[in-house]
Symmetry: C2
Subunit: 221 residues, 2 copies
C-alpha cells in the first residue's frame, strides 16, 4: 500500500507540474497579447483557461481519491493537502493570465499600455514566466533550495510593481486616468501571479521538510 500511495503521490505531483506549465504558458501568451495588441493570442489564452480549471478539478479528484483510499497520516497526509492548496493557487494563476488577455482583447485594436510602461510589463511577464517554470521544476525535483529562490524572484517582482506605481503616480503622467487604471490593475495581476507561484513553491518545500508555510501577507500595494 505504501508503494501504491507513493506512486499516486508522484502522479499528483506530475499533474501539478503540468498545471505550472499551463499557467506559465498562459502568462507568456497573455503578456505577448498585451504588449503586441495581438487579438489571436488573447483569444487563445481566454479559450484555454478552462483547461487549467479542468486540471485543477482533476487534481482535486485525484487527491480526494488518494485520501479516501489510502487514508494517509502525518507527513503523507500533509503532502496531499499541500497538493490541493497548490492546485488552487495554480488555477488562480491561470485566472490572472486570463484577466490580462481579456484586457488586451477589450482595448483591441488600441494598445492597453502606453509605450512608457511597456518595458515594465515585458520584465514582469518574463519574471512571471520564470516563476511558473521554477515552481514546476521545484515540484519535479523537490529541490528545496530552488523553491526558496522563488522568494527572491518575487522580491524583484515587488520592486518592479512599486516602480510602476511611482511612474503612474507621477504628476507628469501624460496618459490620463483610464490608462492609469488599466495599468494599475494589470500590474496587480502580475504581482498576484508571482505571489501565488511562491505559495506553490512553499507548499513544495513543506512536502519535503514538513515546515508549514507562514501566513504573512504578500500583496500589499
Amino acid at each position: 500500500m505504501r508503494e501504491a500511495y507513493h506512486e499516486q503521490l508522484e502522479e499528483l505531483a506530475d499533474q501539478l507540474a503540468g498545471m505550472c506549465g499551463m499557467a506559465g504558458t498562459a502568462m507568456e501568451l497573455a503578456t505577448r497579447a498585451l504588449l503586441e495588441s495581438d487579438l489571436a493570442l488573447a483569444e487563445q489564452v481566454i479559450g484555454d483557461d478552462s483547461k487549467i480549471d479542468d486540471a485543477r478539478a482533476s487534481c482535486e479528484e485525484h487527491a480526494y481519491a488518494l485520501l479516501a483510499l489510502q487514508a494517509p497520516v502525518a507527513t503523507d497526509l500533509r503532502s496531499v493537502l499541500a497538493a490541493i492548496h497548490a492546485a488552487e493557487s495554480l488555477e488562480r494563476m491561470g485566472d490572472l493570465a486570463l484577466h490580462i488577455a481579456k484586457a488586451a482583447r477589450r482595448r483591441h485594436p488600441e494598445p492597453v499600455l502606453p509605450e512608457q510602461v511597456k518595458g515594465y510589463f515585458a520584465q514582469m511577464g518574463k519574471l512571471a514566466l520564470e516563476l511558473a517554470r521554477k515552481a514546476q521544476q521545484a515540484i519535479e525535483t523537490q529541490d528545496v533550495a530552488l523553491a526558496k529562490q522563488l522568494e527572491d524572484d518575487d522580491d524583484e517582482m515587488d520592486d518592479l510593481h512599486r516602480h510602476l506605481f511611482t511612474v503612474i503616480m507621477d504628476r507628469d503622467w501624460p496618459h490620463g486616468v483610464a490608462a492609469a487604471v488599466d495599468v494599475t490593475l494589470l500590474g496587480r495581476f502580475y504581482e498576484r501571479f508571482a505571489d501565488h507561484s511562491v505559495s506553490v513553491a512553499k507548499r513544495v518545500v513543506f512536502i519535503k521538510t514538513g515546515q508549514l508555510p507562514g501566513t504573512e501577507t504578500h500583496d500589499d500595494v
Copy 2:
C-alpha cells in the same frame, strides 16, 4: 467513532463561523476607517489581522487532525476538505480588509476617497458585511437557500463595482490619477471580498448537497 467525527465536524464549522464573524468585523471597521479617515480604527484592523491568520491555521490543524484520526471517506471527507478551502478564503477576506485599512492609514490625515465616490464605498462596505454575516449564518444553519442568496448579493456588488468604474473612467473625473488608482484598487478589494464570501457559501452548499462548486471565474473587471 461516527459520533466523535460529527462532533469534531461541528467544532470545525463553529471555527469557520467564528472566522466569518472576524472577517466581517474587520471589513466593517476598515470601511469606517476609510470613510471617516479614522486612524485608530485602521490600526485596530491592522493589529487584529494576525488573529484571523491564527484562526485559519487552527482550522487547518483541526481539519488535519480530523482526517488523520477519523480517516473520513465520501461526503464526510469532502466536508472536511470544504472546510479547509473555506478557511483559506476567509483568511484572504481578512487580508482584503487589512489592505483597505492600510490604505486609510497611508493617506491619513488626508481622506483616501473623493467625496464623489464615498457613497459607493459605503454601499460596498455594507454589502460586504452582509455577505460575511450571511456566510456565517449559512455555516451555522447549513441553510442551502441562504447560501445561494449570496450569489445575488455578489451580483449587486459587481454592479456597484462596475458603476464605480464608469465614474472613474469618466472624462470629467476631476480628482486626478492618484485618487483614481486608489479607488481602483480599493474597489477591487471589496469585489474580491464578496467573491470569497460566495466561495465560502458554495463550500457550505457542497457539504450539504455533495455538489461541487463550479470553477467559473468571478473577478473580471
